[in-house]
Symmetry: C2
Subunit: 176 residues, 2 copies
């Protein structure tokens, strides 16, 4: 693959990248399409170097994932606009990570249940007392399409990260 | 193109969609790649039914845009996780818009300057007194690669929007 052209902002700190991926909630799944590419936001889990996400068992995303499983998974956070004396030099403060790899549907109910359980704990920490079980995952059918939930994993073939941090005083209306 | 499978959440209110696109700051540009697709966040402007964004004049994004200008442009906002008695029914509250079309680099310096001026006013309202001029756009060269700024437009061939709104009381730790 082509390397990052604008090298000044590359982040190579694996701990920083991992912590960032653990804490963000939404990633964008970039898929190849027929007429157009397809970029769709999903909640995700980053666990032991792997991205996990789930989906209804039918729909456009699933069709594309099955026909072309090579994906890009992008997670970013914008911190605000960095002011500068000249508008040409105004900039954006952000963190972003791009993961490239093959998306594979998880067929093992135990692994799927574990990933979903960790995702629930990430998004709703402390909310549920009971655990998701493989049996529940296997039996559950969506009231919308009658399908079981589909859980996918992406093991990164390549991961790149960029960041541009700024002092709060240099940000225009810093985000909360 | 395939229609949206999960129709319950389709939003068809053009004013709502337009206001949403005007106010969000970042969109994800979904591009076709060779080995993997490419999904990259960019600041953007929605003006008179068109997406405008800019880029350095070199780099991966520009190469891909030139080799395969059919793009997906996705703008979303997550509002939080919607609680439910069963974890299988927990959900995400969000707005999202997906735009499909051809990305074209703007060659007219006047049009590029106008788009950049409106983008500056969107991101840094009231910050600059002087306006970006076509001459400045033509003369400006990045200190990083020596190229002029590249400004692109995407005129939507197709636009779809989805939303899932929830009462704040049903959200887990609602976002500010």
């Amino acid at each position: 693959m082509t390397e990052i052209a604008y090298t000044e902002r590359i982040c190579t700190d694996p701990e920083y990248i991992s912590t960032f991926l653990e804490h963000q909630r939404v990633g964008i799944l970039g898929l190849a399409g027929e007429e157009f590419p397809y970029a769709v936001p999903v909640n995700y889990l980053w666990h032991e170097g792997t991205i996990f996400f789930h989906s209804m068992g039918s729909g456009r995303k699933i069709e594309l994932l099955r026909s072309a499983p090579a994906v890009c998974f992008t997670v970013y956070r914008e911190h605000g606009t960095v002011t500068a004396q000249m508008p040409c030099h105004a900039d954006t403060a952000y963190d972003s990570v791009m993961i490239f790899g093959q998306a594979e549907q998880i067929t093992d109910a135990g692994e799927a249940a574990k990933a979903l359980q960790l995702l629930v704990e990430k998004l709703l920490p402390g909310y549920y007392r009971s655990q998701l079980t493989p049996t529940l995952i296997q039996r559950y059918r969506s009231s919308l399409d009658g399908n079981a939930v589909a859980v996918f994993r992406i093991t990164p073939t390549k991961l790149t990260a960029k960041q541009n941090h700024a002092e709060p005083k240099d940000l225009f209306a810093p985000f909360a």
